[in-house]
Symmetry: C2
Subunit: 354 residues, 2 copies
């Protein structure tokens, strides 16, 4: 696969983003949703910020408080035997080690704008900030689907009761309307198709199951974008391949003459995240036609391999112009990059699914 | 709480149910959904059947095969070190011990009928049998909501990709229409309200989350019973109390003058399952008014304490006549029983939730 990575990569790093409050540091500006609006390219960044601890023996865990409408900073001593601090992203309670107790940072959504798609300016203020009881640990990994003049922005809403997918909409990237949680926990990596297919809206989603099963891609339908049902399992993990550990939707699916093309992420059990593609039937997206045997993009550049959580390329949006797929993607859970791929080459590389 | 247990308890046991095929034994006839139809009381049993293994060293795991439309029997040697057989309900793969690999039995739904609500006759054939790829490990724990002349029957659909909630409807308890999976995995204990509230349908549901959070009760809304959204967390576990380990909806919620009354199950971490009640606002069921400080029913009778999985009372349906709540409930994951409670006494026992 021929991949043209932009010379400006990484396009944005945490150093380009001013913390939204004192005594916080930006540790990530990544996994951005992408939209075209008003002759600009909007990169809706997930910004992760960490409270700066005055004491090296204390970790501060930020939690949004719905009563005070402000962040609480929970102090945890690094020598507190109840907690496991080994994962830089989360703090686990050792007595229930499969789940996390706190996050080490708070994520919110912030706009970066560009005329040319290469050089971006970051807005001064957050755009979507945690504001509900289902978002007290933050909002993450937005995707944007444009339908008519409305942009539907949906994201992981993280709180102590689980991770679900909530949605706002906007027509101007200034004001938003909140639509509540559209997929209950545990769910993330939702991707809403940009038009109805056979009279119904469709969305990809990624439940994380506890009883049995793996982190795999499902599809659901709706008639109003708010209520979803007829859930079906779409594609699963593939042993020994690049998507053997977990998979989830990436970019908003787009129409090609051969079918709906979804650029999705897959990771191995060693957490190496790549991007690949799956082709779905134009008239019934719950039917899988073909899929990438090999990734279309894998972490190879230095900025993709090293960072807060390395060896990760994770795209949440792409712009398609003729044969050119401009894919914007988070790198190493830290920064943003972009590349261009040939649509024809992606389609030709897919292997039939029988 | 005054509980009048029927003298005929247990009303039905596995011995009353003929296996649906040769070389199978019925190990459970329990957790039945309840409905009034045609001057009869319908008990829609969850029947669990186990293949009889000809070899004591081999366990047979039944799995529905959608291609052959028949059950496959997977042979597992008890001395196979890869598997953990210690839980009588499931077979775990030791390398991923939090999830299960197979069930030891296949569950389906079968009708029992009664004129007096005490003595039941079991139909000859299954009523809802696994028939889709999302049901290959069985269908479990049905609930029935009557809206007009239609009975909506929804149940846990269990397969290797997770446990979700699927739905069929019937008007005659002979023919059914399949409506697909209405709540994606992991989810169970769905309870659909019997009428619209402020123009919307509501359902309780119980996600099982992996990332963080506990098995707790949520509420969602819909305009067509098929697509669900606006998910909200409703009530959580309570440390040190009877519902400290897991909770989930039980009976279909019913209207009282003080609010919607939901009879739900709660268990401790030691898996002792009791029934209690929660009162929800008449005009907005996502608002909690009051809740049981102590159970309204706990496993005390011999048939409740001993069985396939003991110390369990688990109701999926009740009939309310004036002040009398006739609650039908599964006991010890084995049989069915029923009791009568005073509605007034339940309401008076609830403690305000602030």
């Amino acid at each position: 696969m021929n991949v043209y990575r932009y010379e400006e990569n990484p396009l944005l790093t945490p150093l380009d983003v001013k913390p939204h409050r004192d005594n916080f540091e930006v540790i990530g500006a990544f996994n951005a949703g992408i939209a075209s609006y008003n002759n600009e390219i909007i990169m809706l960044l997930r910004v992760a910020e960490r409270p700066i601890s005055p004491d090296p023996d204390i970790v501060l865990a930020p939690v949004y408080n719905t009563a005070t409408q402000d962040l609480d900073l929970i102090e945890l001593r690094l020598d507190d035997e109840r907690y496991d601090f080994s994962d830089p992203r989360v703090i686990r309670n050792k007595s229930k080690s499969a789940t996390f107790e706190y996050l080490t940072s708070i994520s919110y959504l912030r706009i970066a704008r560009s005329k040319d798609g290469h050089r971006f300016t970051v807005d001064e203020k957050p755009f979507v900030y945690p504001s509900h009881s289902l978002e007290t640990f933050g909002v993450e990994d937005p995707r944007i689907t444009q339908i008519g003049d409305t942009y539907y922005i949906y994201y992981s809403a993280v709180s102590p009761v689980g991770v679900g997918e909530s949605m706002v909409s906007t027509t101007d990237f200034v004001n938003t309307t909140y639509h509540g949680m559209i997929f209950g926990p545990d769910n993330k990596d939702v991707l809403i198709f940009p038009e109805k297919v056979n009279g119904k809206y469709y969305a990809l989603h990624r439940p994380t199951t506890k009883s049995t099963g793996n982190p795999e891609m499902w599809i659901a339908e709706s008639d109003n974008l708010l209520y979803w049902g007829n859930h079906k399992h779409l594609i699963g993990l593939r042993e020994g391949m690049w998507d053997s550990g977990r998979i989830g939707g990436g970019c908003v699916p787009f129409k090609t003459e051969r079918g709906w093309l979804e650029l999705y992420h897959g990771a191995t059990l060693e957490h190496r995240y790549c991007m690949g593609a799956v082709l779905l039937d134009l008239n019934d997206p719950s039917k899988v036609i073909a899929r990438s045997g090999k990734p279309i993009l894998e972490p190879e550049a230095d900025y993709e391999k090293k960072g807060f959580f390395g060896d990760v390329v994770f795209a949440c949006g792409a712009l398609v112009e003729g044969d050119v797929v401009k894919m914007y993607y988070g790198v190493a859970d830290t920064s943003m990059a972009a590349c261009e791929l040939s649509l024809q080459e992606i389609l030709d590389s897919l292997e039939p699914v029988v």
